[in-house]
Subunit: 189 residues, 2 copies
């Protein structure tokens, strides 16, 4: 979702969505998610700038036959979404006492990705849209938001009322990529 | 979920759940999920052995005051679950033409974690339970399952009918860890 109405959300909406996200499962019940509500205009401008730089670099690396299409794609709703939430994983959390993550510490990050997905589904259920922006530099996000350097940046979310509803993924609608049948991704052992 | 009835799933169930998982969002519509249905007894025994080794090492690293409790926890349903699915992320996929993942290739792994969460929710909606086993060695899983070495191991799933229903997370029930209020994980910038 990248097209948002410039309409604020009803009071308490963001807190409710985050509360639901916090009911997600997590490795060892570590609940490693950290939600940063970004309202400050200067920080928002910094994130917008970071996206601009990263997206320009991505455009320059496109195959020539794809570059024009890439340049036409709208890849973030940073200018319009009323709510922006940056989400991090606290890799240093003591909660859960390390259970389930000794060989796979990255499961902390996966737990946070799943919490974002929960927030996303809860938002959709009340008619809101969520856009996950990943065309960003994680180290720069940590600086802009002044959060602990041990936190792993997972994603930056735009949340708001969608400009329009559509069941087809935007990248499919625009001719960038299409969904494939599940048969090709299942093997038996 | 770690306690499963030794009851097979109705024909077509696994394929339906994977089909729903494949409707998940993914970075750049890359659909990087790869599902490995593990039925072979030797491979299952290999995974059971891998879990045993990793869990023993984890037990040895527990604080003395936690070790007895850790040893009592049931941390996997590998002996009883009728269905086992290993899930990987194909970091080399050309699908999506790299969109959205140049600065954050790990978003491919997050997309797969979210697909697992979708499968999990779909399973719960029809009365099934899912256990995500992470006390495993990713490199060993790649060997045991003979899958491409470029695939990133995300998690091993046990799927089946739960021995009992319970809304309280098992680790909370057992006194290992408890849920915390969302207030502590939200900051404003």
């Amino acid at each position: 979702m990248r097209g948002f109405k410039r309409v604020p959300l009803p009071e308490g909406t963001v807190e409710r969505l985050i509360g639901i996200a916090c009911l997600s499962p997590s490795v060892g019940l570590s609940e490693p998610w950290r939600f940063v509500l970004v309202d400050d205009a200067t920080r928002r401008a910094g994130i917008r700038g970071c996206f601009g730089v990263c997206n320009k670099e991505a455009l320059e690396m496109q195959d020539p036959d794809r570059a024009a299409l890439y340049a036409r794609l709208k890849l973030a709703g940073l200018d319009d979404a009323p709510v922006q939430i940056s989400v991090f994983a606290d890799r240093t959390t003591a909660q859960g006492a390390g259970l389930g993550r000794r060989t796979m510490p990255e499961t902390l990050d996966y737990s946070v990705a799943i919490a974002i997905h929960t927030l996303w589904l809860a938002a959709r259920a009340e008619g809101l849209g969520v856009g996950w922006v990943s065309i960003l530099d994680p180290a720069r996000m940590t600086q802009i938001l002044d959060v602990p350097s041990e936190w792993v940046f997972i994603g930056h979310l735009c949340v708001g009322y969608p400009l329009k509803e559509d069941d087809t993924p935007a990248l499919e609608r625009e001719g960038w990529e299409h969904r494939h049948a599940p048969d090709g991704v299942v093997i038996r052992r």
